[in-house]
Symmetry: C2
Subunit: 334 residues, 2 copies
Amino acid sequence: MPSKRACAAIGIDLGGTNLRGAVVENGKLVGEPVYVETPDHPEKIVDALVKLIEDLLDEAQTSGLQRDAICGVGIATAGVVNCDTGEVIGSTGNLPGWAGTKIREVVEARTGLSVHVENDANAAAYGEARVEELKNLHCIVVVTLGTGIGGGIVIDGKLLHGRGWAAGEIGHMSIALDDSRLCTCGLHNCWEAYGSGRGLLATARELLAEKNDEGQDSTLFEVGEAELTTYKVFQEAKAGDLLACAIVRRWHEHITTGIVNLTHILNPDCFVITGGLSQACDLALLKELTVEKALHNIGETVEIRASMLDTNAGLIGAAQSVIDEVGAGVPARR
Amino acid sequence: MPSKRACAAIGIDLGGTNLRGAVVENGKLVGEPVYVETPDHPEKIVDALVKLIEDLLDEAQTSGLQRDAICGVGIATAGVVNCDTGEVIGSTGNLPGWAGTKIREVVEARTGLSVHVENDANAAAYGEARVEELKNLHCIVVVTLGTGIGGGIVIDGKLLHGRGWAAGEIGHMSIALDDSRLCTCGLHNCWEAYGSGRGLLATARELLAEKNDEGQDSTLFEVGEAELTTYKVFQEAKAGDLLACAIVRRWHEHITTGIVNLTHILNPDCFVITGGLSQACDLALLKELTVEKALHNIGETVEIRASMLDTNAGLIGAAQSVIDEVGAGVPARR
């Protein structure tokens, strides 16, 4: 049994490319995160997880942390996760064969530590929502803007998991009726098909075709289909290209639609915008558009903030789940 | 102070047309509800509220309930309500001048009873979510289909109120991008502008214009603009008119869009469909469309149920809030 006084945990973010691990104490990383390439087979992934945990335990001891100060391991992974059993119950895209793995059971058996497993977007949301400035708020929605749109909802300090552990699939709310955008999930009209990086490029292609017909000038017309990237669009917008600016503006409008919907449904205290494209996002413009598009007095009060943890959010959030469970007297092993 | 053992409360549903009150015990009405016409001035509404409470107390005593078995009064009212202060803080449409009224303060002072004030849609949601079959579920979304769309979200037995007491404005999530439907709230594209009674009629007018151009036959073409009602459309659909059937089908698709969005965001255990138009709603069709339009494994698990309390939901839910607060040792007066 971990000590009740323990206040550090190992956090691991398991992605399709690599495993990133670190010891987390008081909401912060102890030392630099350690990266390991993600193996291509579920059994080898488990081996890599166990090896990474042991390496981090050794490292922690070197830096003066006693083994019993580590109260457990939090693992953030792609896929739908049953947090009660620590099993991946839904498809995982970049981790073929990973669904069905009883991560908690096997890692606990091999390390002797309490393990908590969480969906990666939810873990990141939990990490963001537990930072000092936000941890006492009633409701926080974390929106991850990248190739797709992910997210997590934290209410009264707890992640909203939903009946089938699938809450927070905010990227797949429908914001259009015309079926003109097919999402990678197979559905049409998803927020993700508009507000993500892929959505931005789809908007760019639409506007380029439209404005070409109208004879508008833009450096983007010189860019081939294969070279049209989100980076290129943002770069040209920054350089003042009017069409690129219009695309970026439209992208902000699409992001706003989802934010306004979540605002009307949850009336949260705060949105945290994170993910690879969050840096390209003008939060002041999002706020302005939210006020314009939301019911009176509701849009005005919602805060839209930048991520505090960036790429470490998943790792920190997973570790923090374990720390909070132990701190609350709830063992990570339920 | 009300007795801890008290398990009955007075519930009042305050609408633009009338006040409906009853004593509620064990989640059920004691006797028939009492109706009083809603006066046209805030001060007179308060007088009517106090008089109704006193009449209900007298009636309760006649039927054998001791005054100290009544632990308080729950009032469901239109408008955004700060439940901590019991004050109406947002506009109230059908109750001009009512915003700003410190309902709890004045009614407590005049009756000596603890008072809890709740937004009417939220009170109805709470009532529905507290029925025996549902009260142990994790997340319940109540959708009120009428002239508009209202709703309430109950998570782990508690109403989700949001930062500004405005959570559950589900009717104003945006489901379209083309700005072709203006909602009564002043925004475009609201779910309510499609899935409510008004939305059904807008869809009817659109389809009638479209099919008229195509020369389709329908008894609805013989109906004048003023006579085109939701009732008429449902009646003709029941009689087999193909165009009326197409309108009703499209209406179900629009309702499904909002349900699917809420499913992706909250992954609730259950939706409860209530309100004046809920009887016209084919819940089996809604479920079928939800499975079709939601992510795999998420739509399949969600239940879509009919209301158990119908028009008494608000009254019962408001009374139940007081009963639960006292039962939990939290006095209704906070």
